[in-house]
């Protein structure tokens, strides 16, 4: 196993000529939940898309599991959940998961396993288009959990879920991290940020702070991630 799951060196990404991420550098250790926190438009999704190889990099370097981001060998090793559920509305939940499992060359048992993990047994044979937003999001999450992806990139995976389910999923994330898998989870819900091991704070495409949560709170002399974020933003604004 690599010592570093994800490393960015002076990473810069442009979209339609506009810089979306500027000069971002960090190195992530495995087996941790990293919260990608920042307001909308701060570059969270762009960073995640770069990690899974869907976004071209303008300058700098992004290394994922020891390989350059976008490498073919990475495809079976990363699980990715996009912000809006990327599943087929006109297939049942099980048919959706089955198709993606075939692509990952997994046995049928893997399908039942992830359906169980996301608590979708009662809806497994329903057409996804007829499911609620939260149920649909869980189908999408189940696909990402297929196989033993070492790195899970989850873009706002708990949006629209009820508190009970959200709690269950965070327990699942913690379990996956204990197994040694690494998770990058974006969120703009500050309560969720509190559940992460590490935090990566983004604002206007720049890295505001990165490190263990405890370290961040200590450095900013604050008691919550929200307060820390606000203090850092004010600090940056003053420095400019």
């Amino acid at each position: 196993m690599q010592d570093i799951v994800l490393q960015a060196d002076a990473l810069t990404i442009n979209r339609e000529g506009q810089p979306v991420l500027r000069d971002v550098s960090f190195a992530m250790a495995p087996g941790r939940i990293t919260g990608l926190i920042g307001p909308s438009g701060s570059g969270k999704t762009t960073l995640m898309r770069a990690v899974v190889g869907a976004q071209r990099i303008a300058a700098g370097r992004l290394t994922v599991l020891g390989l350059s981001a976008g490498s073919k060998a990475l495809r079976p090793r990363i699980g990715y959940v996009t912000q809006s559920p990327a599943v087929y509305d006109d297939l049942t939940a099980r048919q959706n998961i089955q198709y993606f499992a075939t692509i990952l060359r997994l046995p049928r048992a893997a399908v039942d396993e992830v359906i169980g993990v996301v608590d979708l047994q009662p809806q497994a044979n329903q057409v996804v288009g007829s499911l609620s937003g939260g149920q649909k999001a869980r189908v999408s999450l189940a696909v990402a959990l297929l196989g033993n992806a070492q790195l899970l990139v989850l873009d706002e995976p708990t949006v629209g879920l009820d508190p009970l389910l959200r709690q269950k999923l965070w327990a699942l994330f913690a379990r996956l991290a204990d197994e040694g898998r690494s998770l990058i989870i974006s969120s703009h819900v500050m309560e969720e940020a509190e559940l992460c091991n590490d935090l990566l704070l983004l604002r206007d495409g720049r890295l505001l702070a990165y490190g263990p949560k405890a370290q961040l709170l200590h450095d900013t002399q604050t008691k919550s991630v929200e307060a820390a974020f606000l203090k850092l933003v004010k600090g940056v604004t003053r420095a400019r």
Binding site: R15, R56, R75, P85, A86, Y88, Q95, I103
Partner: protein, 245 residues
């Protein structure tokens, strides 16, 4: 590319359609009804129906398959599933050929039903053998599928995709030799018609309608049509990008 994933994709597309019986019904019923209507319109002049019935048998499945395929692949793009697939270990050709396989199979069924009805129910007289009629109709439906796959790459929205029908198909229809024989077209338009696939599709059908044996010209036409179809699928694969700029 892995054959297994092509088949898995084809199966998945078929399962999607099986949840949408109305689309399937339209797919098979529309060309048959249109041909029936055409036979009715020309019921007082059956010679005209024999003349244009064949070529239009080439055009209807072509148009229907073009539309269905371009919308289906556009949905794959806009739902985010294409982005997900492209981050997974599956080849771009697996995805496109998967679509081509399912829609191609539907095209076979559709072309067979439409040809059978045209001859046995609507009284279309063709000089050539019936299998040639079915073969050409099938090649044309496959061409529609392949072109639909290809142009969907350039459609950002459903509105655009639907307008590709008048933009891509109508000019081909006007120039294909059905309205005005190619030899009577202005030179420039004749040249352009020679470069368009539907011209060969319609020419093949006209020959099967008029010639008692299948000539080398007809085989050439079918080859050209299938060549265009293959090129469209390969170009379609080239337009799929795993990374956005």
């Amino acid at each position: 590319m892995h054959g297994r994933l092509t088949v898995a994709t084809a199966w998945r597309v078929l399962r999607q359609l099986s949840h949408d019986p109305r689309t399937l019904a339209l797919l098979f019923v529309v060309p048959c009804v249109l041909l029936g209507l055409l036979a009715w319109v020309y019921s007082s002049t059956p010679i005209v129906f024999d003349h244009i019935g064949g070529p239009l048998l080439a055009v209807f499945p072509f148009v229907v398959m073009f539309l269905i395929t371009s919308i289906a692949t556009l949905r794959e793009r806009s739902s985010g599933t294409l982005e997900r697939l492209l981050t997974m270990p599956i080849g771009k050709l697996d995805i496109l050929l998967g679509y081509a396989l399912t829609f191609g199979a539907l095209a076979i069924l559709q072309a067979t039903i439409a040809s059978f009805l045209a001859v046995h129910a609507y009284g279309l007289h063709v000089a050539g053998p019936e299998w040639a009629l079915v073969t050409v109709a099938l090649a044309d439906a496959l061409l529609g599928t392949a072109l639909g796959l290809f142009v969907s790459a350039f459609a950002g929205t459903e509105f655009q995709a639907v307008q590709f029908l008048p933009a891509f198909i109508f000019p081909q229809f006007l120039l294909c030799g059905l309205l005005v024989p190619l030899s009577q077209l202005p030179v420039v338009l004749h040249r352009i018609a020679d470069a368009l696939p539907l011209t060969y599709a319609v020419d093949a059908m006209s020959r099967v309608s008029a010639e008692p044996t299948v000539s080398a010209h007809t085989y050439r036409d079918i080859t050209v049509v299938l060549g265009f179809a293959l090129a469209a699928v390969l170009l379609g694969a080239a337009t799929l990008r795993r990374q956005t700029k």
